[in-house]
Amino acid sequence: MLLSTSSDFNSRSKTITVGVLLTLLLIFSFSSLRHESWLRLYDFFLWLETTPFGVLGKTWGAVFAIVEAVHLLAMALLGGAVLISDARLLGWCFTDVPAVKIQNEAHKVFKVGLVVVLFTGVFMACGVAGKVYWLPVFWYKMLALATGIFFVFFIRRPMLQRNFRELNPWVVKLVAVSSMLVWITVAATGRWIGFAGS
């Protein structure tokens, strides 16, 4: 009895995890927990500005600007990888190359882009932490970013490493479209932060 329960869980583990996380997220978003957590983060954000990254970014505008430019370049790498792999899933390009090959190669480029984007993003956030703390659009970007990362590593990658023929083609298309949407949202909200703070 116990064995079959655990195997049931294993065969539904991703669905259950997603269901639990989504429920927790909804509860968090629509309850006072959200506001309370935000209040508790205030000291942390003030501290971020005192870190070496924060001090460097605030003192030398040139450093901040160049890090921001590198952030853009890494975004191009990340976005390029996302566009190529999603376009392949939608059958828009490289249809003569096995989809698995495109996915695997694009994922390598994606990971490099993601690491640089995260590093430069943290650097910049430290420099302007006191300001972005108050911007709703910054928090939406963090939500979109977390969703994107979770989606890629927990859902998309495991799914696409299986045999493509066994996948429902509509599920594949849905994954491709939502992948593009989530990363477009991350980029657009990022740009908006630049406007909202000034």
Binding site: I66, L72, L73, A76, G80, L83, D96, K108
Partner: protein, 190 residues
């Protein structure tokens, strides 16, 4: 040469749409955002092509396949960036034309275009022999490396246009910075 650029910028600045775009509530921001975000499309494709030539990405996919198919979305992105770039210049012509970063960026754009032309010519002539190799021959790799370098510096210069450290009113008359930026005596303050 500087006088010529200045006169054209003054003329553009005098057009009513230039002021309208510059002072618009959102339009300028949208044009700028489109310009910045489209680089994800344009440079995303370009970087993958260059990385393929250097043998760092998509090594198992034929090089000509990568270059020829990603070219189209890259050019689409470039056209959008070019048009939005012209609009951005059109909105703020004088300061932009006298920005040392903008001038450097334009020079690099021309260099990148020449490099791309040479690179494509070399690639098309020889790709049948090395298209499925993991790395392109050294001449093509040099072109790819230069392309990456040029475009990275172009993006950095583009970002620095917004900063006023080398603006005409903050630098000394007759200094190298002023000569390179094309600051003209008695120019209109904007």
């Amino acid at each position: 040469m500087n006088e010529f650029i200045y006169n054209i910028s003054m003329w553009v600045d005098g057009t009513s749409w230039s002021a309208k775009l510059h002072e618009s509530y959102y339009m300028y921001n949208w044009v700028e955002s489109t310009h910045v975000l489209t680089l994800i499309l344009c440079l995303g494709m370009l970087f993958v092509i260059d990385l393929r030539m250097l043998g760092y990405a998509f090594r198992d996919v034929s090089a000509s396949s990568i270059a020829n198919r990603l070219n189209i979305p890259m050019l689409l992105g470039f056209i959008i960036m070019f048009i939005t770039g012209i609009l951005l210049f059109y909105a703020v012509p004088i300061r932009t034309s006298q920005s040392i970063w903008f001038r450097f960026k334009m020079v690099l754009l021309v260099a990148a275009a020449i490099n791309a032309f040479i690179f494509h010519k070399q690639m098309n002539e020889s790709v049948s022999s090395w298209g499925n190799d993991a790395r392109a021959p050294s001449a093509v790799r040099k072109g790819a490396f230069l392309s990456l370098a040029f475009w990275s510096i172009i993006v950095i210069c583009g970002r620095l246009i917004a900063y006023d450290w080398f603006d005409c009113e903050y630098t000394d008359a007759g200094s190298l910075s002023q000569v390179l930026s094309g600051c003209i005596d008695g120019q209109t303050q904007f």
